[in-house]
């Protein structure tokens, strides 16, 4: 193929790729633009793509006149707390499932996956009754426990495939070199599993950050509401939807995720291919 032909082919390919990106990203872009338009420009016909006047009024109102910051703090606690609990249990659990032999090990691993197959809707009422019985209704703790129930099996399986790729000889070498079981785990296994742990932690954090159903059912006070249910509850009523505020809130909800993604993307893609390639 001649050089100009190759060049125009690449040009066409780029054009195609950017078109796809634009189509997919358009709602996000619209969200961003809507959040900085004055209320008066929202319902213009025909709609204007670019705001005639840029305003950050909606952001100000959201941050100062609503419980948005409380919701944000709750969401952060939920994502952080769930991730911590899930990662600690899943890392140790996955190591045990991979390395130790005990009766029913494989069955246990399958059983764990089986719990993941149950739809959340089936579990939500029993969980609510359980939490109420434990006196945990309307607390962040109840949500952390609930999120752990569905994030843990997934994390366990993801980490198991990472742990499987770590050669057993490494741990044996550490034991012979004088380490205890726990030291070998901390000194040798953890550093090797770190990419897997990071990507699993991200999956878990995102799951917790975006969760809606459990948050809706288990928590109904502003003090414990996360962003997902809080924002809807606050801005969407039967009579009115505060579109500007809703869009501003959505932007602020997305930013932390986008930042995390940008920094840890390479670990995430490794997570997707875990177990696919050895070593």
């Amino acid at each position: 193929m001649s050089a100009p032909a190759r060049k125009s082919r690449r040009y066409l390919f780029n054009l195609f790729a950017w078109t796809v990106v634009l189509v997919i990203a358009f709602p996000l872009l619209w969200m961003l633009l809507t959040s900085i338009k004055p209320q008066s420009e929202l319902f213009l016909i025909p709609p204007a793509l670019l705001p005639g006047e840029i305003t950050f009024e909606h952001y100000r109102r959201l941050l100062t006149e609503t419980p948005f910051l409380t919701y944000l703090k709750n969401s952060a606690w939920l994502a952080g707390g769930t991730t911590l609990v899930v990662i600690v249990i899943a890392t140790l659990g996955a190591h045990s499932l991979v390395r130790f032999s005990y009766p029913g090990r494989e069955r246990l691993a399958t059983l764990v996956l089986f719990t993941y197959l149950l739809p959340s809707v089936v579990l939500v009422i029993p969980l609510y009754l359980l939490m109420a019985g434990l006196g945990l209704a309307n607390t962040l703790t109840s949500l952390i426990i609930a999120y752990t129930t569905f994030a843990l099996p997934y994390a366990l399986w993801l980490l198991r495939s990472f742990m499987k790729a770590i050669p057993e000889d490494l741990e044996s070498a550490a034991l012979v070199d004088g380490a205890s079981r726990m030291q070998a785990f901390v000194d040798v296994i953890l550093p090797q599993a770190m990419p897997g742990i990071i990507s699993t932690a991200m999956f878990t954090a995102i799951l917790a950050w975006n969760e809606y159903l459990y948050a809706l059912v288990l928590v109904n006070s502003d003090a414990a509401r996360p962003l997902t249910t809080g924002v809807i509850n606050m801005l969407v009523t039967s009579f009115n939807i505060e579109w500007s505020l809703l869009m501003a809130a959505s932007v602020m909800m997305s930013v932390p995720l986008i930042v995390v993604f940008a920094f840890l993307q390479r670990y995430l893609t490794r997570g997707f291919s875990a177990g696919a390639i050895k070593g």
Binding site: P167, D169, S172, A173, V176, D177, G178, A179, Q192
Partner: protein, 362 residues
């Protein structure tokens, strides 16, 4: 420095017996190879010695003390793995230092010992590198360094050379022998490569299906294999076996196979009056087959010149016989020749259990 003793040691994994009532005693400072085909239990034996597997039965002693209940960390043995098992996130220095750290050697002393081990193994220039930046041979030396730095009671080596290319393997073999001579520590070396076992060891333990077949010096194992498994396993090309029966006794004894017979009166047998109908296997090493105008007719099937010698396969009264002859021999497939065996060097094994029938001083 310490001797090692296995006393009726067995290891079962579920219904599979990996090691079966094995007893053997390794002297302090000795270089012993554990040799056998894959799956014979040799690595399991080594892992039990290291404390990575627990014996199902029997006792293992190091330096006179039973270590069955001791964790690997408490046994003061160092192990080199087939895969090297270098810690990928640590530098070469970090890898070599790790066992010292775990044994709480003071930091100032650690640096000196790491340097000393690196000097012995010519790793000084590589101390700051990560394992993935090293060649196979260098990784191998780091694995050795990690064992060496500790000054352990015994070194356990699990096929440490099998991942190296042929040239490097020969080189490292010589290095290991030199290392053993210098530090004089007990070394237990697991391998499936008889050449490694024969060249490096003071004694070889041949294992098959979890059972010890013979534990003796390389010369003994080659010249006086205790059974037909050892005889067939040691030696390249393998020993030839002919099935038949013994007739006559003493100087008139004859080995008969079908309508072919061979007077073997020159062989002295442990049992001078065998059952006249006794079924036996006759073992002939390839180098003990020779061209002989007075011998039995045979036909050449295959000629494999290797330079200094030629391996030949003959059809000999319906049996395939492999012979090792010097490189000058000029034979072509389908040539007709006459062969004889060096009778004094023949081996006789019982057909039922494979045990050696020759008198051991023969």
């Amino acid at each position: 420095m310490a001797g090692i003793r296995f006393d009726q040691v067995s290891k079962r994994f579920g219904g599979v017996t990996a090691v079966n009532a094995l007893s053997m005693e390794i002297q302090a400072g000795e270089f012993v190879s554990i040799l056998g085909p894959s799956g014979c239990g040799k690595t399991t034996l080594l892992r039990m010695l290291a404390g990575l597997e627990r014996p199902s039965a029997g006792a293992i002693s190091i330096g006179g003390a039973v270590v069955n209940e001791l964790a690997p960390a408490e046994r003061n043995v160092a192990m080199v793995f087939q895969t090297y098992a270098l810690y990928p996130h640590m530098t070469v220095a970090g890898n070599i230092e790790y066992p010292l750290k775990k044994r709480r050697v003071p930091k100032t002393e650690r640096a000196g010992r790491v340097r000393e081990a690196a000097r012995v193994l010519e790793l000084e220039a590589l101390l700051g590198r990560k394992p993935r930046e090293l060649s196979g041979g260098q990784q191998q030396r780091v694995a050795l360094g990690r064992a060496l730095v500790r000054d352990p009671a015994a070194f356990l080596l699990d096929e440490p050379l099998s991942n190296l290319d042929a040239k490097l393997r020969t080189h490292m073999r010589a290095e290991l022998i030199r290392l053993h001579r210098r530090i004089g520590r007990t070394m237990v070396y697991v391998t499936h490569d008889q050449l490694e076992a024969m060249t490096m060891s003071q004694r070889i333990a041949v294992l098959n299906e979890g059972a010890l077949q013979q534990f003796a010096s390389p010369q003994d194992i080659y010249a006086r294999p205790r059974n037909d498994f050892v005889a067939g396993f040691i030696g390249t090309p393998s020993m030839n076996f002919l099935d038949g029966r013994l007739e006559g006794t003493g100087a008139d004894r004859v080995f008969r196979s079908g309508d072919w017979s061979l007077p073997i009166g020159a062989l002295r047998l442990a049992d001078e009056h065998p059952d006249p109908d006794r079924r036996v296997r006759l073992g002939v090493r390839p180098e003990h087959v020779r061209l002989d105008a007075q011998g039995e007719p045979a036909r050449v099937i295959l000629v494999e010149p290797t330079g200094h010698e030629t391996i030949l396969v003959f059809d000999y009264s319906g049996n395939e016989i492999v012979a090792r002859m010097d490189g000058e021999v000029s034979l072509e497939p389908d040539d007709s020749v006459r062969l004889s065996f060096r009778v004094a060097k023949l081996h006789l094994f019982a057909a039922d259990d494979g045990r050696r029938l020759n008198l051991d001083d023969s």
